[in-house]
Assembly symmetry: C2
Homo-oligomer: 241 residues x 2
Amino acid sequence: MHSEVLKYEANGLHLESVLYFDESKAGKRPAVLVFPEAFGLSEHTKEKAQRLAELGYVTLANDLFGEGKTVNSMEEVMGFIGPLMQNPLNIRAYAEAGLKALLARPEVDASRIVSIGYCFGGTVSLELARGGADVKGVAGFHSGLGTVRPEDAKDIKGKVLVCIGADDPMIGPDARQAFAEEMTAGKVDWQLHLYGGVVHSFTNKQADSAGMPDAIRYSASADRRSWVSLVDFLEEIFQSE
Amino acid sequence: MHSEVLKYEANGLHLESVLYFDESKAGKRPAVLVFPEAFGLSEHTKEKAQRLAELGYVTLANDLFGEGKTVNSMEEVMGFIGPLMQNPLNIRAYAEAGLKALLARPEVDASRIVSIGYCFGGTVSLELARGGADVKGVAGFHSGLGTVRPEDAKDIKGKVLVCIGADDPMIGPDARQAFAEEMTAGKVDWQLHLYGGVVHSFTNKQADSAGMPDAIRYSASADRRSWVSLVDFLEEIFQSE
């Protein structure tokens, strides 16, 4: 598996994202942007991007804080994320910088791009789509669903899949219903998969170290189920092109 | 593919359900009960049961009205279904009769049974589980989620998957939320997959002939997606045993 750091600028940050692809294959191929949880470019993000690259896609595990660093405290996270959530145009600019870096690669088929993400990275992917980017699909896992610009859903060009824990205290029934209404009003081809007894960060094996099991907890079954749904989502999109 | 009519009694009706299995395979194997839409044992039900049998399962496409007949009018359907919905114990007795007929077969591994259904047949499968039947999983497609005995969810022994159209006028946001709360209170391992822009009967290619596209309509994408989720659901359950 080839891996390589891509350096580029976005919103004043020096981003260092990691590109993966199977160098034994020739020719252009579909690509997947992978946006990280709010703690930055973690092993979790890289592992998901690597597993997707093993399926034959070019993938980019996106840096969030610059220089590939991760942060540990919720205070740092919220200091960074909070202002961004109020200005989704900055989130979109950040995501578009990753998309542009990916599109510059000769291995990538520019007409076949999907953007996925975890937690805040799911929000990033949704905002990229709301901004009208030419992505064929967007998937979010325990991803924040809200936006201050719901009217932009009409500009979403690709299919949407979100996978959410039914007991996620950050993405409750009202947020899910608002998302359903937003996507429906935007005439999006969308799916929401809801997992009972599951909370936030269910794809991340490191989640339990947060010591907040009622809010943040790994779920082997939801991780596996949502992965199967993602793999099928990608096949549905890329095989139909 | 071997097929054979199984005759048995339930709630005073002479049922004629159809059993399918691959006779080229030997030994006991997992089995799937398939309960029909409210119009009875249609080609739609038989086709789904046959496709599951092709995957290696023993399947039983369940008769609903007796003597394998189907009905055409909504009046007939409601005259039959309405009273049953008020008395889920009769629904359960009906489902248990199918389960018993299946368990009597030498091809069936009695410890590995899943019950699925479409529309009212999904409700039947859910009621079978709420009644405490020893089924390892229940799946419902555009299935009614409500029950007059939600407190029985605690007796559900298997996993639950329901696949619902987000615009299904018969299964709206309140019904979905009530179901989520019922399953969570019962500590069930449950999933709900929601498909945007999709209404009732999305798995049934004959649905469009009803001439009610805002309420009842086939969806090739939701049919395919929910089938993939069902196949994975069965693999998850049966491979872990």
